[in-house]
Amino acid sequence: MQANARNLIMNETTTRTLTIQILRHNPQDPESEPRFESYQLDEAPGMTLFIALNQIRDEQAPSLQFDFVCRAGICGSCGMLINGRPGLACRTLTSKLGPEITLAPLPVFKLIGDLSVDTGAWARQMGERLETWVHQESEPDIDRLEERMDPDRAEEIYELDRCIECGCCIAACGTARMRKDFVGAAGINKMARFRLDPRDERSDEDFYELVGSDDGVFGCMTLLGCNDVCPKELPLQTQLAFMRRKMASVK
């Protein structure tokens, strides 16, 4: 079936002028005060916030800071508040938004400048704290047939492995705002992923040591903002409930 030409975003015709309000602040500069600055630009067919922000930087605000890498919704660099809601800017089409757009950096994370936040440091400390790798006594024998794994199990692990550590779930989390050490949905999902992995030899007691507290599964207030905003549509709600039940039964 040929693609319906009406559906194709590249065929859109548009003449809107967009007004983009950006929350700007450079913590490196002692003179800088957080403030909104407003930029106007003509919308183009298929325009994403990636394109719009680069155009603003190129033509109007050379010092504007933001982060993109893949610009394809894969790498998780560009999480920000888009009209107040955490999301990936690169794959947000301006045509899906009104003519006035407000952009702000993700809360909770350390601000680097303007729309850029330090999700890297957060992810690293989460990895160190929760030991987010397969714990196995023996090294894989790389010259022999690999250990077998049930095909369904491999797919279930991949389902949870798809987290890109973009930080949207943390920014949308009520608990993370109140408890600075809360591991958040990303952390709990990671634990669920390794718990599911037959190669990881850790027991529920071991996982309990890592997330069996108010900074882990018992801190979650079940507001489920994480589940609503996850760009990868990970089953965070299910994993939170599942891990809490498993951890609650650890003596």
Binding site: A3, I9, P62, A72, R91, R124, G127, Y158, E165, R199
Partner: protein
């Protein structure tokens, strides 16, 4: 002056860099990884379809082994690769997949019993044997005889990068984010580390190291339309080039991927066609069988991209406001397959095109995708001319890919090269050879030079804008150094790029902030990018033949008699506007697989004078050893095991080839 010492400085936090760092760390060395972005955001994450390794577990991969993978790779390269390196690679690839399996990558697995698949637009039934159940499975990719590409859905790079990112945390390897190497510190043909800028504070730090590794990926972003992440600007090659000593190899060898979406240029994986997807034209006609009756949509990427362009030139493209395109049709695979095995593709189509690829065709056209060229290294990964500098992954010309890389071989190269090169680096660092004694004045000199350049850029209010020059460079590269090339256009490209380089020495910046300053970053990268672009354009102009992805319309023949050689470019003097070109012959007499027809594309080449003799030799050896096992025959044709680090020499076990010692 801030100074840090480490044994091994790794520049680049993607798959190649991380695996190299893990390798040296496990050998007891101190290492630091520098990354422009958080390591897990590296462009490696965007590799969708998978990595090639001849495990031969699935029914469609039965009979596969290193020999078959080797042959596919050499043909794919159009005989431009180093065959010994290709051998080292195909031998180590299964070990890399198995290592990653142990480290947590959830590779898709073989499921015993019958299943439906689409091959050549027809539904077929594949029957998987119970003995393979639960082993790692593989899908089909272009230019391969067997189904050999191991995958996790279409997020293979992501799963691999996260496994290695987490392994680097487990190994306590410091990964310093938002750090950019501006220059290599070197003297007398020896590299001593790098001057590094903090992208947040603007502060410079000099890192002194026994070994320095560049693993910064490719140079796709010198092109206007590229599937590459925006950080793939070739600046790692740029700093190597600017030493005036290190050589870049085959920079004109640039791959165009057949299926990037229009207009965003985002990749849809080769897995789409590997899994049975078709290419169609404006009339809905499946045109690839007309051109490539044998391999159809699954010829090598250079061939498919050229056929698509050829077909669009005949007026068979679909018109759009963004130029002509063709259709990729994966509706034939069915919704269940698309949603499970091609979900990134589905997301990309949904978010960027507003279509559902389970029912709609995807607008695609060939787009810059991969850099076969890079820092020329020996088989150890060490620069041929700058001691103590190593390179691996896409940043290197190791030279596994020659003039065209097969899909699934790049992501495999990252980890395989990381494994192999890190062993050689560790050997080097544990030998007296690596001892360094440099005066701090040398470090200070490089440090001061870089600081001076930044100060000057910020202070000089020149008349040129970075973005104007950059945009023009990108246009020249896509228009004149693209899929099809001609002498006239390449002349124009070289000429105009030189003018741009000249203009780039007179930039005027609006901001004068020393700290976080995106305008400054773009400005100081510009000259490096232009120099890299000139290496590509000049190499392409001089190479008056067509080989792999380098396709000259005025010289359509592959000319082994004159061009079976590797282009080497260096930048001798800072004020030059052109690189210096040299060539390195490829030895036909030592080839396991002497040059011939690839089996797809056009059969049109001129033989090298040594080819006939080598073909006779190879045939004679094969006849003489008839009945001998394949390892013995291979070893007689072209020994390579001695080149591998000892820990990677053992044979790979397969269901059909049990390990003799087990």
């Amino acid at each position: 002056m801030k100074l840090v010492y480490t044994d091994v400085l790794v520049i680049g936090g993607g798959l190649a860099g991380l695996r190299a760092a893990i390798g040296v760390k496990r050998r007891g060395l101190d290492t630091v990884v520098l990354s422009l972005v958080p390591a897990k955001r590296s462009h490696s994450a965007a590799a969708q379809g998978g990595m090639q390794a001849s495990l031969a577990n699935s029914a469609m991969g039965r009979g596969d082994n290193e020999d078959v993978h080797f042959e596919d790779t050499v043909k794919g390269s159009d005989w431009g690769c180093d065959q010994q390196v290709a051998r080292m690679f195909v031998h180590t690839a299964p070990k890399a997949v198995r290592e990653l399996a142990g480290w947590g990558v959830p590779w898709n697995r073989v499921r015993s019993g019958e299943r439906e698949a689409v091959v050549n637009a027809e539904k077929i039934t594949i029957s998987e044997s119970p003995e393979a159940h639960g082993l790692i499975t593989a899908r089909d990719f272009g230019g391969t005889k067997k189904w050999r590409t191991c995958y996790t859905s279409d997020g293979t790079g992501h799963a691999m990068l996260f496994a290695l990112g987490d392994q680097s945390i487990a190994n306590g390897i410091p990964v310093m984010e938002r750090k950019e190497a501006l220059a290599l510190i070197h003297e007398g043909g020896r590299c001593y580390g790098a001057v590094v800028r903090d992208l947040v504070t603007g502060e410079l730090t000099s890192f002194v190291a026994r070994a320095t590794v560049i693993a910064t990926g490719g140079y796709g972003r010198i092109y206007k339309v590229s599937t590459n992440g925006i950080i793939c600007e070739g600046t790692g090659m740029g700093i190597a080039l600017e030493t005036g000593v290190a050589e870049l190899g085959n920079m004109e060898a640039v791959q165009f991927h057949p299926t990037a979406i229009v207009p965003a240029g985002i990749l849809t994986t080769e897995g789409c066609r590997g899994d049975g997807g078709l290419l169609r034209d404006v009339d809905g006609h499946r045109f690839m069988p007309d051109y490539e009756p044998e391999k159809k949509e699954l010829a090598s990427r250079d061939v498919v991209s050229r056929r698509m362009t050829e077909h669009m030139r005949k007026g068979k493209g679909v018109k759009s406001p963004y130029g002509d395109h063709l259709w990729l049709d994966i509706t034939v695979l069915g919704r269940a397959h698309v949603e499970k095995n091609l979900r990134e593709v589905k997301d990309i189509c949904h978010y960027f095109l507003g279509i559902d690829p389970a029912v709609d065709w995807i607008p695609v056209r060939p787009t810059q995708h991969y850099s076969m060229g890079g820092i020329r290294t020996r088989h150890t990964g060490e620069s041929t001319t700058l001691k103590g500098l190593f390179a691996c992954g896409e940043a290197a010309c190791w030279d596994l890919h020659g003039f065209n890389r097969l899909g699934g071989n790049s992501v495999a190269e990252t980890v395989v090269a990381g494994m192999i090169v890190s062993e050689f680096i560790a050997d080097f660092c544990q030998s007296d050879e690596s001892e360094i004694s440099i005066p701090t004045s040398l470090v200070r000199e490089f440090h001061a030079r870089e600081q001076g350049r930044l100060d000057e850029l910020l202070a000089t209010k020149g008349s040129e804008r970075t973005s104007d020059i950059r945009r023009r460079m990108e246009e020249i590269m896509i228009d004149k150094v693209g899929i099809f090339r001609t002498g006239v256009e390449l002349d124009e490209a070289v000429e105009e790029l030189q003018q741009l380089l000249h203009r780039s020495r007179n930039l005027g910046l609006q901001s004068s902030v020393h700290g976080a300053n995106p305008e400054l970053v773009a400005a100081y990268r510009l000259q490096k990018m232009l120099k890299v672009a000139l290496c590509v354009a000049l190499g392409a102009r001089e190479r008056t033949e067509s080989r792999g992805a380098h396709s000259r319309e005025d010289h359509p023949q592959r000319d082994d008699s004159n061009w079976l050689k590797r282009t080497l470019t260096t930048w001798k003097n800072e004020n030059d506007t052109l690189p210096t070109i040299d060539y390195e012959p490829i030895d036909v007499a030592g080839m396991e697989l002497p040059p011939g027809f690839r089996g797809y594309g056009q059969a049109n080449h001129r033989n090298h004078p040594d080819t006939e003799a080598r073909v006779s030799e190879v045939t004679a050896i094969r006849e003489q050893l008839e009945g001998a096992d394949r390892f013995e025959i291979q070893n007689r044709l072209m020994p390579y095991k001695h080149l591998l680090p000892e820990r990677y020499r053992e044979r790979n076990e397969r269901l059909e080839e049990p390990n003799p010692s087990s």
